[in-house]
């Protein structure tokens, strides 16, 4: 992917920007929204995903250190997804090819709540959006052309 980011640098116009979105290295929150009440259920437990996120951040830092991009702004926000039930969420995860690691007791708790009182299953995933400016050759300490 570092190679791809260098390619993208070549395709960007001078002072073009790269907007990267990827999850924060935190477990997603699981909730049930029911009758206007938010019920916290727990969190996912995808340790492998967290390692991947740290690796992705490392790749961005590498590109900055090499002088291809410079971070202008970062924002963190929650990406909130609504599902009729935990099982719909699991099906979605499977369709998307995502790894899902979650305590079965948490899912059962959510199922019980929704089966007894209705509501929605909510997945709250913190996302970091990073805006980076493409640097010209010669404007950074390490020059892309020298790599």
């Amino acid at each position: 992917m570092v190679h791809a980011l260098r390619q993208i640098h070549r395709w960007l116009r001078p002072r073009g920007v790269l907007l990267d979105l990827h999850p924060e290295p935190e477990h997603a929150g699981l909730e049930v929204w029911q009758d206007g009440t938010v019920r916290q259920i727990g969190r996912t437990a995808n340790e492998e995903d967290l390692a991947d996120i740290h690796d992705a951040r490392g790749r961005l830092r590498q590109l900055e250190d090499e002088g291809w991009y410079s971070t202008q702004e970062q924002r963190v926000f929650d990406l909130v997804s609504h599902f009729p039930s935990p099982d719909d969420w699991l099906e979605f995860q499977d369709q998307e090819g995502y790894t899902t690691v979650v305590d079965g007791d948490l899912l059962n708790a959510a199922r019980d709540l929704i089966n007894s009182g209705g509501g929605e299953f909510i997945v709250r995933e913190p996302i970091r959006a990073s805006l980076l400016t493409s640097l010209h050759k010669g404007t950074a300490n390490a020059r892309p052309g020298n790599l």
Partner: protein, 98 residues
């Protein structure tokens, strides 16, 4: 199965609050089914959105709003194998692709 991602528009506000997409030529890498593309494409000049998954690209093409069809192109491609002209985009969006 019905589901809704970001119906509150939090992601949309973040995207459009950080980048001025007006008149921009945009490259999106890892566009999937175009879910994010629709959140910023309207004011752009053009969007080239790529993903390696042909099923996702098919979905994206099928769900393209008529108002955006002339400016948004979806393509099955690996970004490392794309051949594009240098300095042809103002914005590159990487959605969970790093």
């Amino acid at each position: 199965m019905s589901y809704s991602i970001d119906p509150e528009g939090i992601e949309t506000r973040a995207l459009n609050g950080m980048v001025d997409f007006s008149g921009a030529d945009v490259l999106e890498v890892g566009c999937g089914d175009g879910r994010m593309t629709w959140r910023y494409a309207e004011p752009t000049s053009s969007v080239l959105a790529v993903d390696t998954n042909p099923n996702k690209i098919r979905l994206a093409i099928q769900s393209t709003p008529a108002s955006l069809a002339s400016k948004v192109e979806f393509r099955v491609a690996d970004v490392t194998e794309l051949e594009l002209s240098p300095e042809s985009f103002d914005v590159a969006v990487l959605a969970h692709s790093l």
